[in-house]
Symmetry: C2
């Protein structure tokens, strides 16, 4: 009888935030890779480029001129996927041809006036400014919109078409699929166990330590037990917090600190500006502000695609799209790798 070893024996792990399973087949990493190799990201980005619509003082697609901003800067997306006043379809519909109105706003937020920095290379105070702006925009748009999605696509590999450090904010008159699912899962857990799912989870992970990447007194970054992307992480507060605008000054400083440390490790992993998509999930807003949302816990997801090197990513394709997500190393292996990396950024190291 062979004993079960998660690094050798494929198994399924349960994702309690999505009520679904992930296939972990760590032994697949042994297979050689002869497939597509990505272009490594551009390493020499000019601090200021007069053709870049995200830089201070430049003119954007719609003719507007950016101010000479010195910290963060937020403006309406010139090609928004959501607009505030779109007319809606009629309501008489066949069950297989259902359509609904979608309204909202899309904003772009620059993190810094310089194009050649990223969050891990920015000063801690500068990252705090980004967090403050995130909190402000959730407060502002969340006053009426039920969902405010803050997300960052970093790197050309993740569909980002501009190297200037920035994120996006899309607010909508509906709670989208992913947070709606997460809401249902967190609510069911809370009803059954009397404690918020992610608060309980953070405590467990802080105790176990094996999937922790970095921690501070207020925050924890872990490769979740159910991670699907190779080096996926989940950023969690230790205290029960519903929304990003509920963070105290101290917690914002702690968040800036843990973000810088986590993202430095990411960059150091393959010594490349690490591509990812990330985003915040917190309790729904607008009409939901008046409801009891005790089952919610604020958190950020980081989904980075790289698997083997700076140029070989994980493809979520055939089996993953049609059947089930599959990963090629265990979350514990990924966490260990990240945990052991230096916290000094490779670009600032003396040579």
């Amino acid at each position: 009888e062979v004993n079960f070893d998660p690094k050798e024996h494929q198994h399924l792990r349960y994702n309690p935030l999505r009520d679904s399973w992930v296939l972990v087949s760590a032994h697949r990493m042994k297979r050689p890779w002869a497939g597509q190799v990505e272009k490594p990201p551009e390493e020499h980005i000019p601090r200021y480029d007069q053709r870049n619509p995200l830089c201070p003082r430049n003119t954007r697609a719609n003719g507007e001129v950016n101010p000479d901003y010195e910290s963060t800067y937020i403006f309406e997306n010139d090609f928004p996927a959501l607009q505030p006043n779109a007319p809606g379809p009629g309501s008489d519909q066949h069950p297989l041809f259902q359509c609904k109105a979608a309204r909202g706003v899309c904003k772009v937020m620059c993190f810094h006036p310089w194009s050649d920095v990223t969050l891990p290379l920015m000063k801690k105070e500068e990252v705090v400014k980004v967090i403050d702006k995130w909190a402000d925009i959730v407060e502002e748009l969340g006053a009426t919109y039920p969902w405010v999605q803050i997300f960052e696509n970093k790197g050309a590999m993740m569909g980002c078409s501009n190297p200037h450090p920035h994120c996006q904010v899309w607010a909508s008159n509906f709670v989208p699929n992913e947070p709606a699912l997460s809401d249902r899962c967190q609510r069911a857990y809370y009803e059954k166990h009397g404690e918020p799912l992610l608060l309980q989870y953070a405590k467990q992970e802080a105790g176990k330590q094996e999937r922790v990447v970095v921690e501070t007194s207020d925050w924890l970054a872990v490769v979740p037990y159910w991670a699907t992307w190779p080096y996926q992480t989940l950023l969690l507060p230790r205290r029960h917090i519903l929304r990003i605008n509920d963070l105290t000054t101290e917690e914002r400083e702690g968040l800036a600190d843990i973000m810088k440390r986590l993202l430095t490790k990411y960059d150091n992993l393959f010594e490349v500006s690490f591509p990812y998509s990330m985003g915040w999930h917190g309790a729904p807003t607008g009409p939901h502000l008046k409801e009891d949302n005790s089952h919610w816990q604020l958190h950020a997801h980081y989904y980075p695609p790289l698997l083997r090197s700076a140029t070989v990513k994980k493809f979520m394709v055939g089996y993953e799209m049609l059947a089930q997500e599959q990963r090629d190393l265990t979350p514990e292996q990924a966490a260990e790798k990240l945990r052991n990396l230096p916290e000094k950024h490779y670009k600032t190291r003396e040579t």
Copy 2:
């Protein structure tokens, strides 16, 4: 008052197979693209390459030698994500750290002895042989396994690491997330409306015609009303059929015909060997063979990533991963484009 125009006004559409919504923002196609450009696929692939482990007579990673096969050829994946005898984890588990045994087999199926052909360029009789083999393998592995996933990753962009025409078959001791969700949705629809969801849907689409790409007396290929990928299609039989091995000889010939026509249009769209991931969903097998699965209807999903040209794909990233899928042209626009393309393959056209 402006009237609702799906090409101009963003809206949500309901996917009844996944019980979720897609954001359609067709006006986003107007935005210029300055982001990542993909390498076009290699157009000159040798018919036989002695280093390619998928070609006849060659030796594979595990030392086995391929026969001098003349039609299809199936063998065990040398780096399988699922193995038949992996030991399972213990059963005493915390609700946030749930793990299950996963067992199965992974096979690779070559479509043809030549590396320089693809399904649309193969003879109709040769494609029928592929369909027969699909039916055989579902019959064989489905005798015991609850799920047999046939899927094809085509093109380097879709993580395919070998240009030789082939697909994969992964059979598992569990019904994976995607078919499990589709099963629940089809069952609920059947219970409510007394007719299989996809049988009803095919009838509706055949009547409406606006999303039909190609049709034969037995089959229909449509861009589904809820398509998420730009040129996604759904291949449906007109008769109620549970599994691919239930197809008659005539239906297999019709399927070879419609597949060749659909895939020729795909290749003709940007005059490139069109990348995609595709796969079959039919009623579950193994222990489920004895159950009533009348709510099921056999179908294939095609998920192609290209959006604007042979080198610019749709990125399913930040908003899509964290909130909701979003598309940049309407399914009707995509269907019309595909429908109007010639059915003669660009590579066989006289110049």
